[in-house]
């Protein structure tokens, strides 16, 4: 090792060459990771693709690689487009997203605004503000499950009768889930938006104040435009997360009553473990993956263009 130039001519063969060629060495170093990725990402993806074009279910006892025996072409893909339950789940997911995310955004923005200025106890309040975000979603689900019981604290405080149900009511079940999601994820919005807000140079705010703007005008004209990127990131992050909402819903309502709170994730879960329609699940999963990838790519290229 110490005398490289003297050693090189004596050692020949492939590994000696690898030791001298950075690119080749890199290849061998990266190889284990690549193999791992192939095993956990690429292989399941192709397996899913394969299953999605069959009628295969684990009930019939044929191993998954024999699924070609029940080959179905694109039937699953066609079926999902006409499946009202799928569309319902999609719509409910979007509904949660378009109500919860803006609510979290406005609450987070308002809270962040309160936290720009220093005040006594700011750090303590700050920590308290962030706790909901740090609780495991399943636990939050349980908390709200208990809170929204007929005889639970919510009804108690609002003076509602114990037969006024939240989680088993056709409309209120959804409201309960959305409230729980807002409670849990407003802190994340708050955290991101506060960071962005603190990034607005204070002398620009001071200048705006001196030039006679009201706080509201300065907020709209100085703070928000300067936070544009941060706001975009926060919204995208939450929207994507919201699309995957599962724990809260499953624990609070199990998607019920009926399918009234069934989101895409809950729907897929039920199809997989209750109805064992694995081929159909594979088709839906791939479709969602495809659609979201296209949207994400579009969104990213838009952001890049804006930033240039």
């Amino acid at each position: 090792m110490s005398d490289k130039s003297a050693n090189t001519p004596t050692k020949t063969g492939y590994w000696a060459k690898v030791a001298q060629d950075g690119n080749k060495m890199g290849f061998w170093f990266v190889l284990p990771t690549v193999l791992l990725l192939v095993f956990i990402v690429v292989f399941p993806l192709f397996m899913q693709l394969y299953l999605s074009v069959t009628w295969w279910t684990p009930l019939e006892g044929t191993p998954w690689y024999m699924a070609w025996e029940v080959f179905s072409w694109g039937e699953n893909y066609w079926y999902q487009l006409t499946d009202p339950r799928m569309w319902g789940a999609l719509w409910r997911t979007v509904l949660i997203m378009i109500i919860a995310v803006p609510a979290q955004f406005f609450l987070g923005m308002a809270l962040a605004y309160l936290f720009i200025e220093k005040f006594p106890g700011r750090k303590i309040f700050y920590s308290i503000m962030l706790t909901p975000m740090m609780i495991v979603p399943a636990v939050v689900g349980l908390m709200f499950y208990l809170l929204f019981q007929g005889t639970g604290p919510v009804n108690d405080h609002l003076g509602l009768p114990s037969n006024f149900s939240w989680l088993t009511d056709v409309n209120r079940a959804m409201i309960s889930v959305i409230i729980a999601d807002i409670w849990q994820w407003t802190p994340l919005m708050f955290l991101i938006l506060l960071a962005g807000m603190l990034g607005v140079p204070s002398d620009q705010l001071l200048a705006a104040r001196l030039l006679g703007g009201s706080n509201w005008q300065n907020f709209i004209k100085i703070i928000v435009p300067r936070m544009k990127t941060v706001i975009l990131i926060a919204l995208v992050l939450r929207a994507v997360e919201c699309f995957k909402i599962f724990d809260l819903v499953y624990i609070m309502t199990k998607g019920g009553p009926g399918v009234q709170t069934e989101t895409i994730s809950v729907f897929l879960y039920k199809l997989t473990f209750a109805e064992l329609e694995w081929a159909y699940v594979a088709a839906i999963g791939l479709t969602i993956l495809f659609v979201l990838s296209v949207i994400a790519a579009k969104g990213l290229s838009y952001m890049v263009k804006k930033d240039k």
Partner: protein, 353 residues
């Protein structure tokens, strides 16, 4: 009526006390505040702006007690050292920002914009974003924004410190022209004495949280009322010689000076004192009746219009500023004389005698 009046204001900080400060800025005056860094200049500005509440004393704006006035209500605009332009707005939007904020009508806005861009010559850069402008252009836009607000007074906190030397000189002239033509009240803060002296009608010299002297640039330069002022005003700085007054009060005896300096005030007879001479008031060569001394020239700095000579008496460095180019060999012994009319004497408390 004075535009801004500060009366016996005191502001306490954990390890620093500002004040008591009293000063008056007249309507239409170009008022300079000069002081070394971190002596309380910015605090004075904040007191005027209302960002700081005085612990004692009052601030009056056009004769009205300003204690209860909010920041915007005080109607004072400011140009920041780093300009604080809004980077997401172009030049035009920056300038009309204060007008929009106050809900001025569109017609009035465009009239005011025309006026401001005419005065500041910025018509050609109105559509640029601050990031695309040069330092001087940004400076003009920042001035324009403060100007468009048509306020009671404009505070300028080291507004041109970030510019390069040539541009600074240009902007200095420009600022003065602006102030004169529009009869605006300017309060100009800087730690660069040349800048402040060049533009101001009157200068307040701040030292150690107090205003050491207020006067015309000529006043503070030629008749500094204390050593604190004499030390900070002038470049190169004033030369000081420690010594004491003779018991009959007729002479100043410098510890390091070979000759006695005749003096007439007898009130401080016998006390220790400091003699101050500005570098340009030391002349090369002997004069018959003038006070003179011998010193050794250490180095010569030819600066074109004038020459700085670094000389030495014992251990003490003496700076001499001679007009034009001077041909003096280094290490040579020279006899110099002081301009008798421009001698400053300070007593043991640093007060001018």
């Amino acid at each position: 009526m004075s535009a801004i009046e500060i009366k016996n204001v005191v502001k306490n900080y954990p390890n620093f006390t500002l004040g008591p400060i009293s000063m008056t800025v007249e309507q239409g005056e170009f008022f300079g505040i000069f002081g070394p860094p971190s002596t309380g200049k910015t605090s004075i500005l904040k007191l005027i702006l209302g960002l700081l509440k005085p612990d004692e004393g009052e601030v009056y704006l056009s004769g009205r007690d300003a204690v209860e006035m909010g920041v915007a209500e005080r109607d004072i605009s400011m140009v920041f050292q780093n300009l604080a332009l809004f980077p997401h707005m172009n030049g035009r939007e920056n300038i009309i920002f204060p007008l929009k904020e106050r809900g001025v009508s569109e017609a009035e806005i465009s009239k005011q914009l025309d006026f401001v861009s005419g005065v500041l010559h910025v018509s050609h850069i109105l559509d640029k974003n601050p990031a695309q402008m040069s330092g001087g252009e940004r400076q003009r836009i920042a001035l324009g924004r403060a100007f468009a607000a048509t306020s009671r007074a404009m505070l300028l906190d080291e507004p041109i410190a970030a510019l390069d030397a040539r541009l600074r000189e240009e902007m200095r002239v420009e600022l003065k022209r602006l102030q004169r033509e529009n009869n605006q009240t300017f309060v100009y803060v800087s730690h660069d004495e040349e800048e402040v002296m060049a533009v101001s009608d009157r200068v307040a010299v701040v030292a150690d949280g107090k205003i050491a002297q207020i006067g015309t640039p000529d006043d503070v330069y030629s008749r500094p009322n204390s050593m604190a002022v004499a030390e900070v005003i002038g470049s190169p700085p004033m030369n000081f010689f420690q010594g004491k007054l003779s018991s009959d009060g007729l002479f100043f005896d410098g510890d390091k000076l070979s000759e006695r300096f005749p003096f007439k005030d007898k009130t401080k007879a016998g006390g220790t004192a400091t003699l101050g001479v500005r570098p340009e008031d030391i002349w090369l060569g002997a004069a018959d009746d003038e006070f003179g001394l011998d010193l050794v020239i250490n180095s010569v700095e030819p600066l074109g219009g004038y020459t700085i000579l670094n000389a030495q008496i014992d251990e003490q460095i003496v700076k001499i500023r001679a007009p034009g180019q001077v041909d003096v060999p280094e290490r040579s012994k020279q006899r110099v004389s002081f301009d008798q009319r421009r001698i400053h004497l300070f007593d043991e408390d640093g007060i001018r005698v």
